[in-house]
């Protein structure tokens, strides 16, 4: 009896230890994102390596703060985050510098999708102008970002309160100035103020304000627009002639991971063309590598870039390093002058 119990305990301990060694821990967002990664990248990775994947979830900044606290003994092996927040990870020494010889699929990466030598795009999306076709004045189609400043849009526009970089990028673009010279575009931004009605703090509020008609024009996340259109809200997402603001969710390897080789395999799996096609379909997002067979229903959505040429033509890219360094100053100026 004693021998039996000892054997059972030993096997439990060994299997626990074995599981702990073999699991790859991925740090990312919860909800639909978690489901997306498990159904696509994790599935391919586990099929190829036999190693299961566990996702630890949280908000973007919360995960960054946690990563800083556990820097010397990281809890995850791979990290997903947005491109500009990724620069905060890089500046704090939290990402491995990538050895691209270990990521064969990276050779197909669209140039604008490479955030840095430390973090790479996973999928692309846009921030652009969405509008209620039943509530905006006739003739307003947002063929240009300049139309946001039309007097007939007084008190109709909603903007994000957590990221002023989008509208600042647009203002500098329209004024013909580089992003670094944003202060010269401040009069342009102030001229927009009468048209601003409200500011949303998250996707749920953005959707609520748009679908209720409180802010029939918004600069918002493309996936939110697609979801509302699918729900029957009479909405159009415009891609102005100047282009739409590119957003990039990125993947990186956590510095100090003890499973470096497995982490590289996971990143490589994320850039696999088949996986990218699945991600594009599930997330209604742009793939980041060339040679992906994008679902036709997804490809025809405004703001989906199916080719490198579309990325070059329609995507307005901000320097994420500048964005990470300046976002604090931009948000502070925006809160003081545009919101209050």
């Amino acid at each position: 009896m004693r021998k039996f119990v000892t054997a059972v305990l030993a096997s439990m301990l060994m299997s626990g230890a074995a599981l702990a060694q073999e699991k790859l821990v991925v740090n990312g967002w919860g909800g639909p994102f978690q489901a997306l990664v498990m159904a696509t990248v994790a599935k391919k990775f586990t099929k190829e390596t036999g190693v299961p994947v566990e996702i630890v979830t949280g908000g973007t900044i919360d995960r960054l703060n946690r990563a800083r606290v556990v820097k010397d003994n990281p809890e995850s092996d791979v990290t997903f985050t947005t491109s500009h927040v990724g620069w905060l990870y890089v500046n704090d020494g939290l990402f491995e510098k990538l050895d691209f010889s270990k990521i064969p699929n990276a050779k197909n990466l669209i140039p604008k999708a490479k955030a840095s030598d430390y973090h790479l795009g996973f999928y692309g999306y846009i921030y652009s102008i969405a509008y209620r076709t039943d509530l905006v004045p006739p003739g307003v189609t947002f063929a240009s970002w300049q139309e946001l400043w039309k007097p007939e849009l007084k008190g109709m526009i909603g903007l994000a309160d957590f990221d002023a970089s989008h509208i600042i990028k647009v203002a500098t673009l329209l004024d013909g100035k580089p992003l670094e010279d944003w202060e010269a575009a401040q009069p342009k931004l102030m001229a927009l103020k009468p048209n601003l009605k409200a500011f949303y703090s998250n996707s749920a509020t953005s959707i609520q304000l748009m679908s209720s008609g409180e802010t029939p024009v918004q600069v918002l996340l493309s996936s939110n627009a697609y979801n509302m259109m699918a729900q029957g809200v009479p909405l159009k997402l415009a891609v102005p002639k100047e282009g739409a603001i590119l957003g990039l969710d990125t993947i990186a390897i956590t510095k100090g991971t003890k499973k470096l080789e497995l982490a590289y395999k996971f990143v490589n799996a994320a850039l696999d063309p088949q996986v990218q096609a699945e991600v594009s379909k599930m997330q209604k997002a742009s793939p980041v590598v060339v040679g992906v067979a994008v679902d036709p229903d997804i490809a025809k959505l405004p703001g989906i870039f199916s080719s490198a040429e579309q990325w070059d033509k329609d995507a307005l890219v901000s320097n994420d390093k500048v964005r990470a360094e300046m976002l604090g100053k931009w948000n502070a100026w925006f809160a003081k002058n545009m919101m209050n």
């Binding site: 800083r68 009605k197 409180e214 604090g328 100053k329 948000n331 003081k336 919101m339």
Partner: protein, 283 residues
């Protein structure tokens, strides 16, 4: 003897909690005197610039607006909550007392966020309130209620009313009804009994309710950001906008500490008033 023993046995855990709280405050304080480094979450060296920045007109106006909204909300909640609390305690019908209690505590089963969303639907241009006003012919165009100070105050009143009502009910329930009977027996009418006996004896409960509602609303975040739509910002929203969302943790620590001092000052003043009133009635 037993009380002293109980006091001593609770001293250690209370001391540990106080120590943890003090440690957290010290950590926040040390952040507030550090420099922000753009592009990094690691703060820099010692600086008093964060406190110097508080002189900007925006912060003063947000502080004053927050104080004003909290005071206004507390007064409105008191005016609505007192009758509810009184009848929750004094109604003869047990069914009525239970019904009032249920109505008061039911909102607490929902968090701030769903209740704030409900107010967006109620107060919106196409919401229930504008719809009702249009239907009875009082207005022909929607009245702007969302994204206004009034709209946020209405939502805050709804959210904090249960707290005031329950605190008042506890206070009123402790008033010995013999005092009221004595006053009636000496010829006082019900209004005079209320004004000269019940109301003065319930002042400690009123002040406790006022302090609680004031403190709760001072730290309100979800309701002003949703019902206010970024146009009506209270101090917590500014802490988020200029601190967390801007990766400026030192400045958010500064704003948070100043807010804590402001609330403690108000609570201290109200507490002092409460003690003076208590002494006066003891005499």
């Amino acid at each position: 003897m037993a009380n002293t023993s109980a006091f001593r046995s609770l001293l250690l855990p209370a001391g540990l909690v106080a120590l943890l709280y003090a440690t957290a405050l010290i950590l926040v304080f040390q952040y507030s005197v550090r420099e922000v480094i753009p592009g990094s979450l690691e703060p820099g060296g010692f600086t008093l610039d964060n406190y110097a920045s508080l002189g900007h007109p925006l912060y003063l106006s947000v502080f004053l607006r927050t104080l004003g909204m909290c005071a206004a909300t507390a007064v409105i909640v008191l005016l609505i909550g007192y009758p509810l609390a009184y009848y929750m305690v004094r109604a003869r019908s047990r069914f009525l007392r239970s019904l009032i209690l249920l109505i008061c505590i039911m909102p607490l089963f929902l968090g701030d966020v769903p209740r704030s969303y409900a107010w967006i639907l109620m107060l919106g241009a196409n919401g229930a309130v504008n719809g009702a006003l249009k239907w009875v012919g009082l207005i022909d165009r929607p009245v702007q209620m969302l994204f206004t100070v009034g709209g946020v105050v209405v939502a805050l009143v709804h959210i904090t009313l249960p707290f005031m009502t329950l605190l008042l009910a506890v206070g009123i329930s402790h008033i010995d009804q013999l005092y009221e009977k004595a006053a009636r027996s000496l010829g006082a009418n019900p209004l005079r009994v209320f004004l000269t006996v019940t109301l003065p004896l319930s002042v400690p409960a009123i002040l406790a309710g006022f302090m609680t509602v004031f403190a709760l609303n001072f730290s309100a975040y979800a309701t002003p950001i949703m019902v206010g739509g970024g146009k009506v910002n209270m101090i917590s929203n500014v802490v988020y906008q200029l601190g967390i969302a801007s990766f400026n943790y030192p400045f958010s620590a500064t704003l948070s500490l100043i807010s804590l001092v402001a609330v403690l000052a108000v609570v201290g003043l109200v507490g002092r008033a409460s003690r003076k009133i208590g002494q006066r009635y003891a005499e």
